[in-house]
């Protein structure tokens, strides 16, 4: 194969107690599209942030065109010819396409005035080279997300990029936009630019990539030419099958018949949740199985009202929740634990007690005044039931370990006395001991008649928790199965089936 442009050698990075990357070595060649795959927390974003100069590796080195380099800032990385396109566009939406392409080195007349005509001509030429039908004078924000990303790529190329990193470029694109992206990537390839491509859509990775590298728990677990890595092997590598032996802990239980604790029918949100229906009975754990980007988080958020659903109905305990907002959902008896503890979970400046009782204030307040006595009692109860290890109710939430923070958030959900609860990857980023405790707590609650919908980025964990699975692929339900007697491999097989039948609207 052709020359190596960018290479990492034994790169490691740790954040506090978490080893984000260990000993990662891989090589990116000119004219190659190299896919980077892995689940949540596998280390993909850390690796990309190291390559784009946001983070410095603790160990190991980055080799660019044969020489070791230090990328100590995003701008340094750009100057070295590493250009990145993120899902969040890093351009100026209110300004024209041409201005965005040339910002900082606009062609000028008399050394002062910007030569708009020349700038727009050059912009048009550049866009034409990538076969992009974009008016250089159009406001960038008026373009679709996909074309904005193309503009971002074109800017990188104009500034002499040798490496283009496309971080989940296609998650929010429409069908035509994806086609445009494919075309641009092919052209970049022909121009000898190395492309690192991160996508959660397997069909896309197989369509575009020459080579795939899979990360899991911060390590490279596979790095193969696409032809040598069939789907099942890729998914196996991503999800792993070496998880702790927690499988089999699930107590035998019979879900109660009758009214569903929580039920969604025909749920729709953008093109991420497509006509999803399911029901969770009291005393039952239903697992939402799917790869990252399959719409599992979005399904939960749309059910809860954290995203405004565009269609479908939600029923909690048999009565419908007409227009869903988080407040109404909670009042109806539905609780939701976000996968993103830091951004959507804890109030970092508040205490354990304040965090725990945040959604249950109406239950412990009278005439708008929070009863200290009732608050203390509630905190004491849940601290005991869930085994939260804290210096005291007034300790800052951030003084707790990740696992114990998660238990506080679980307690916050339970404090509203819900009929059903949605747990999005509830043990993400917490240690094995805490994980087992969270599992025990969930099992106890289910015994008492709670309905639980759960996801996990670890297939083993999902199988250990759930009584049955609903399989999501690209936002649609593509299978359902009981977990009794099911092997991890069986689920991987379901996930590996290409779902061409799932139409993009």
């Amino acid at each position: 194969m052709s020359d190596i442009i960018l290479e990492t050698r034994a790169v490691s990075k740790r954040f506090g107690a978490v080893q984000a990357l260990s000993d990662v070595s891989f090589a990116l060649r000119a004219g190659e599209v190299h896919g980077l795959a892995g689940e949540n927390g596998a280390g993909k974003s850390t690796l990309i942030k190291i390559l784009t100069g946001f983070y410095q590796p603790d160990e190991g080195e980055i080799i660019l065109s044969g020489t070791a380099v230090r990328l100590d800032s995003p701008r340094a990385a750009q100057r070295q010819g590493i250009s990145a396109v993120y899902q969040e566009i890093n351009l100026i939406p209110e300004r024209s396409v041409a201005e965005n392409l040339f910002l900082g080195n606009e062609p000028r007349r008399f050394g002062v005035l910007i030569d708009r005509a020349r700038m727009e001509r050059s912009a048009a030429e550049l866009l034409a080279r990538y076969d992009l039908a974009i008016d250089p004078r159009a406001r960038l924000g008026a373009l679709g997300l996909g074309l904005q990303q193309m503009v971002s790529i074109a800017r990188g190329v104009r500034l002499g990029a040798r490496v283009a990193i496309l971080d989940e470029p296609s998650s929010a694109l429409t069908g035509t936009e994806v086609e445009t992206l494919y075309r641009v990537v092919d052209r970049l390839k022909a121009d000898g630019i190395a492309i690192l491509f991160v996508s959660h859509r397997l069909s896309e990775s197989y369509r575009l990539c020459d080579r795939l590298t899979v990360l899991r728990d911060g390590r490279v677990v596979a790095s193969e030419a696409v032809a040598d890595l069939p789907r099942a092997a890729l998914i196996g590598a991503m999800l792993g099958r070496n998880a702790e032996a927690i499988h089999g802990n699930r107590p035998a239980r019979t879900p109660r018949e009758g009214v569903a604790a929580f039920e969604a029918s025909g749920l729709r949100w953008r093109n991420r949740v497509r006509d999803v229906s399911f029901a969770v009975r009291p005393g039952e754990v239903v697992g939402l199985a799917g790869l990252l980007g399959s719409g599992r988080t979005e399904t939960m958020k749309a059910s809860f009202g954290a995203e405004t659903k565009e269609g479908g109905a939600i029923r909690v305990g048999g009565s419908s929740v007409p227009s869903t907002t988080p407040g109404r959902s909670i009042a109806a008896g539905l609780a939701f634990l976000s996968e993103d503890r830091r951004a959507e979970g804890i109030f970092p400046k508040l205490s354990v007690a304040e965090n725990l009782t945040a959604t249950a204030l109406p239950r412990i307040a009278r005439f708008g005044f929070v009863s200290q006595r009732k608050q203390a009692a509630m905190v004491a109860e849940f601290t005991k039931v869930l085994g939260i290890k804290t210096a005291g109710p007034n300790a800052p939430i951030t003084s707790l370990s990740g696992g114990n923070q998660q238990k506080v958030l679980l307690a916050r959900c339970l404090a509203t006395a819900p009929r059903a609860i949605m747990l999005d990857d509830p043990t993400r980023g917490i240690d094995v001991g805490a994980k087992a405790e969270v599992h025990e707590a969930i099992n106890r609650l289910v015994e008492q008649g709670l309905g639980v919908l759960v996801t996990s980025s670890e297939m083993e964990e999902l199988m250990a928790l759930a009584d049955r699975l609903i399989v999501l692929t690209e936002g649609a339900v593509t299978g359902a199965t009981s977990t009794d007697g099911l092997e991890v491999q069986d689920v991987l097989d379901i996930l590996a089936q290409p779902h061409e039948a799932v139409a993009h609207p």
């Binding site: 890093n90 351009l91 100026i92 939406p93 606009e106 076969d131 039908a133 008026a142 035509t176 445009t180």
Partner: protein
């Protein structure tokens, strides 16, 4: 799928929303001019005192001090900040002009401008380098600068302005007051700087998405500091011209102009969140406020407090329309 087919599809997909977005953008940037024209017509039909050359000159002269300040304020707001110090700088500028006049008319212009620029430099450094909030920094400057002006001159300083200094503010060229020329030329230069120089584009970029601007290589801190310097300088200059116009340095002059200049810019379609705005819009905003003042002044039986009420209502409506339009566009 063929290449040309895809391109056509992409174009067709974007056409209708883009046309609406353009219309909305047009209303946002040019709406204030339309309202100004409309208000002028209505006032001319309704009030016989209004449509005279002398009255228009009155409005123009009276609005010129606010106009100069509004130029700087518009740069700052598009940048994503705001500058509360400009009202106090008018007061300080007018006092300094009175003190400096004995050394020459040029000193009476230069000293206030430099003092204003220096205050802007400190504000800008604290905001851009130390990362302090524009609100707090310029509020501190508002208080501090007014204090300095009052210390320098408890009462107003009467000055003789027979020479060049008085002529600058009170003379005419081609039958039009110099002050009007100054503010019009000021706005014209500002419009060119804003739209046709790297500095101007950088101001838009920072206001539009500061993090992205930094990533794209815009020297964010330097542009910010420079912009506050421009705003301060223009405010100091406005104070000097006021002193020349009134033949006195008045330490209490310019109170509330900081808020009026923000109001003028916002009425003129400059988004308070930054990244969007035009100089023509800001000028329209200044003239609209001037027109309201002028009309209410001359109706006679209305207290001047109604000026504030009318301005407030106008501002609220302008912001309401902006908000609705912005939401439509998203």
């Amino acid at each position: 799928m063929s290449v040309s087919g895809t391109s056509a599809a992409v174009r067709a997909e974007g056409a209708a929303p883009e046309r609406r977005a353009r219309l909305i953008a047009l209303i946002q940037s040019r709406g204030a001019i339309g309202v100004l024209v409309l208000a002028t017509i209505v006032a001319s039909l309704r009030f016989p005192f209004f449509p005279t050359v002398a009255n228009f000159e009155n409005i123009g002269t009276a609005a010129s001090f606010l106009g100069l300040v509004a130029i700087g304020q518009t740069f700052v707001i598009i940048l994503g900040g705001f500058d509360l110090s400009v009202g106090s700088l008018i007061g300080l500028g007018s006092v300094l002009a009175a003190y400096a006049l004995p050394y020459g008319w040029w000193a009476a212009l230069l000293v206030p401008a430099l003092a204003g620029g220096a205050v802007g430099l400190v504000d800008g450094l604290l905001i851009a380098r130390a990362g302090m909030a524009p609100f707090i920094v310029t509020l501190a400057a508002l208080l501090g600068v007014r204090g300095i002006a009052l210390v320098l001159a408890k009462n107003s300083l009467v000055i003789a302005t027979p020479g060049v200094f008085g002529l600058i503010a009170n003379g005419q060229i081609l039958g039009i007051d110099n002050l009007i020329w100054i503010v019009l030329i000021g706005f014209a230069i500002a419009a060119i700087v804003l739209n046709r120089t790297r500095y101007g584009v950088a101001v838009f970029a920072i206001g539009g998405n500061e993090e992205a601007a930094r990533m794209l290589g815009v020297p964010v801190a330097r542009i910010k500091v420079l912009t506050y310097v421009v705003s301060g300088t223009l405010a100091g200059l406005s104070g000097a011209l006021l002193a020349a116009h009134l033949s006195s340095g008045i330490s209490t002059a310019g109170q509330g102009e900081e808020l009026k200049s923000i109001a003028a810019a916002v009425i003129g379609g400059v988004l308070l969140t930054g990244g969007v705005g035009t100089m023509a819009g800001a000028l329209s905003g200044v003239l609209l406020l001037g027109l309201i003042e002028n009309v209410i002044d001359q109706i006679g039986n209305l207290s001047s407090y109604y000026q504030n009420l009318a301005s407030g209502v106008f501002l609220l409506i302008a912001v309401l329309i902006q908000t609705v339009l912005t939401r439509r566009r998203r």
